[in-house]
């Protein structure tokens, strides 16, 4: 029975990263110590991750400390989805509208969600962002929807 799930999973995660790095680095020339190829240092790091990750795993397996994992997917997924929506929508509907979408969607991640408040905040922030970033700082993002489909 694994009690310290946190440490074991952490070890496995690092081993996975090390494994991926080693796998991808296979195609890069190794070279020698005196004339290192692009694959030399990454492979060194990959082996270190794999080895030390295994040590971390073992420590977790032997640990008597109970440290279970408690995931709360909802806030994270809502937050990241609202940013993803922003990425996809901004080129199509412009920053004012996509800013509103991001604010309203991400507001749903919190414990309490108030429609009216989120809509007002979103409208203000969308407009403010367009004024500050596009007009003020010349960030090349469209402000309004591209109705004519010119892009």
């Amino acid at each position: 029975m694994i009690r310290n799930t946190r440490d074991v999973v952490a070890g496995l995660m690092f081993m996975a990263f090390g494994g991926v790095a080693l796998f991808m680095a296979q195609s890069y020339a190794l070279g020698t110590a005196a004339r290192m190829g692009p694959g030399y240092f990454p492979r060194l790091l990959g082996f270190l991750l794999l080895g030390l990750g295994a040590v971390q795993c073992l420590i977790g397996l032997r640990s008597k400390l109970a440290s279970p994992l408690d995931w709360h997917w909802r806030p994270l997924l809502i937050l990241l989805t609202s940013v993803a929506l922003f990425i996809v929508l901004t080129p199509v509907i412009g920053l004012v509208a996509s800013g509103l979408v991001l604010v309203v969607a991400s507001s749903a991640a919190g414990a309490e969600f108030r429609w009216k408040e989120a809509l007002i905040l979103g409208a203000i922030l969308g407009a403010a962002a367009a004024a500050l970033f596009v007009h003020g700082l010349a960030v090349p993002l469209p402000i309004w929807p591209d109705f004519a489909g010119r892009s």
């Binding site: 790095a21 110590a33 005196a34 990750g53 937050l79 990241l80 901004t90 507001s107």
Partner: protein, 500 residues
């Protein structure tokens, strides 16, 4: 007097109107995020970094530095009035600061925090001016082997001084080094770990990665907590301290400034560690230890001086050796590289106005912060009553646009989303993201110096231990690692971080 000439040059740069304005902006933003819990200096600096592209490098750095030390001022306000640290660096201020507020001495606590910070900031400015040039001179004698060993030492001591599991911190550093490999290898032109994406040829977007790891993941973690505290203390009566209180806290301020000056220079050190150490020191030196935790003014004066001195001194290794000692300094290195300035000993000789301008601006900024924090404290307190549910969408939107504007590319925003996901995982697994950022920044330099050292030695690895300076540094790194593993020391280290 070379020191005075240098400072004179610095002040002539720091008091130009444009630099004064940006120092002020940095201090205001820093105080703001310091007061508001749930957003730290790392995320803020990453968010504002793209805005500084169009500025002069020295102006950009002055503003970003203001955010960092300003945050340690603002963090204490929240700690004292709301019993909640606005920043990590004011965690220990909560203990006695809030007790003082409960006893109706909030004004004294705020005053001594600001006064202590100002004295510490002044001391730190002088310490930097005195010790940075010799350190840079030493660094100029370094060859590739020494640089490699220095970076190894830096990374390892950052790990030892970090919170939580040291092994996890080592693993996060190595992962960061690997992430730093992404992009074109300068020596062979091979694109490494680029997944055939042209956007990754120049490496992974560093602003975007930081935002994901620090801002997105942190918001997700904050939102998990069911309720968000919103208690504001009563009116603050008088913002002054009695002579007796000043006499009582002055030695603590001096010791705190000293602790910050010593610990700030260590990799992994900086504001937070200095504050913890100073609190432990004051408690140990006190005649009556039971006063601590019940409103002892030294318990506010010491750590608040230490965190400010530590924050400023941590610029020294970054500016003189090119080695960032914490996540904020890693961002500063990123900012310098964006402006085509290679951080390292040459900064002082090639662009003295940048170096001394920044140092002098710290003193100017500290003076501004006293004004910002004492008479205007009521305004900051009002801000605290702003609910988090209105704050985090603002941060999210600013980050999304900020990540885009780094390269004017939506790909970078996807990177931020991806690292937001990773960052949440890391925090849940007890892996701090700061070492990863350090590894990422140092990765390319570490590889380059390893390569160069081994080319010069014709592939002979003993070069690292036959050269005296390199050997000393590696020996120190090994000693630190050995010390880490010893159970007694490990227990002591946990204790220091749990103090509070």
């Amino acid at each position: 007097m070379e020191l005075l000439d240098n400072l004179a040059l610095g002040f002539s740069v720091a008091i130009t109107p444009i630099n004064l304005i940006y120092a002020f902006v940095g201090c205001v933003v820093g105080t703001l995020i310091g007061v508001l819990p749930g957003i730290g200096p790392v995320a803020t600096i990453a968010m504002l970094l793209p805005i500084t592209y169009g500025l002069e490098p020295v102006t950009a750095l002055i503003m970003l530095a203001g955010i960092y030390y300003g945050a340690s001022y603002g963090g204490s306000t929240t700690a004292i009035l709301v019993n909640l640290p606005g920043e990590m660096s004011s965690v220990v201020t909560v203990l006695d600061g809030h007790q003082m507020a409960k006893q109706g001495r909030a004004g004294s606590a705020l005053c001594i925090a600001a006064l202590g910070s100002f004295i510490a900031g002044t001391t730190a400015t002088l310490v930097i001016a005195a010790f940075a040039p010799p350190l840079a001179d030493l660094a100029l004698k370094f060859d590739a082997a020494e640089y490699f060993s220095l970076m190894v030492l830096g990374l390892i001591s950052a790990v030892v001084l970090a919170h939580g599991s040291a092994l996890k911190a080592v693993l996060m550093t190595i992962l960061g080094l690997l992430l730093g490999m992404i992009g074109t290898d300068v020596n062979s032109g091979t694109a490494r770990f680029s997944f055939d994406r042209p956007e990754l040829i120049d490496g992974i977007g560093f602003v975007a990665m930081t935002m994901g790891l620090f801002a997105f993941a942190e918001i997700a973690i904050n939102l998990e907590r069911a309720s968000y505290p919103r208690i504001v203390a009563d009116r603050i009566s008088s913002l002054w301290i009695t002579w007796k209180e000043f006499k009582q806290s002055f030695p603590a301020i001096v010791r705190g400034s000293a602790a910050g000056s010593v610990l700030g220079i260590l990799p992994g050190g900086g504001a937070t560690l200095s504050a913890f150490a100073s609190y432990a020191l004051e408690k140990k030196l006190a005649k009556d230890q039971s006063r601590f935790g019940r409103g002892a003014i030294e318990g506010v004066a010491g750590p608040e001086s230490a965190n400010n001195a530590g924050a400023q001194i941590s610029f020294v290794p970054m500016l003189t050796l090119g080695i960032p000692s914490n996540a904020v300094m890693a961002l500063m290195v990123g900012a310098l590289i964006i402006h085509d300035i290679q951080p390292g000993p040459e900064i002082m000789t090639k662009t003295p106005s940048l170096f001394w301008g920044l140092v002098a601006s710290m003193w100017v900024g500290n003076a501004m912060l006293v004004i910002l924090n004492l008479p205007m404290v009521g305004l900051w307190v009002k801000l605290l009553s702003m609910p988090y549910r209105l704050l985090y969408p603002v941060i999210l939107l600013c980050c999304a646009i900020g990540a885009f504007s780094a390269n004017n590319n939506m790909f970078d925003v996807w990177i931020a989303v991806l690292f937001g996901f990773f960052g949440y995982f890391f925090m849940k697994l007890g892996c701090e993201p700061a070492p990863l950022l350090l590894g990422y920044i140092l990765g390319p330099m570490l590889e380059e110096n390893l390569r160069r050292a081994l080319v010069l030695s014709r592939g002979d690895y003993t070069v690292f231990v036959t050269r005296p300076m390199s050997a000393t540094m590696l020996l120190m790194a090994t000693a630190l690692l050995v010390v880490m593993v010893l159970p007694a020391i490990r227990a002591k280290r946990e204790q220091v971080f749990q103090e509070g």
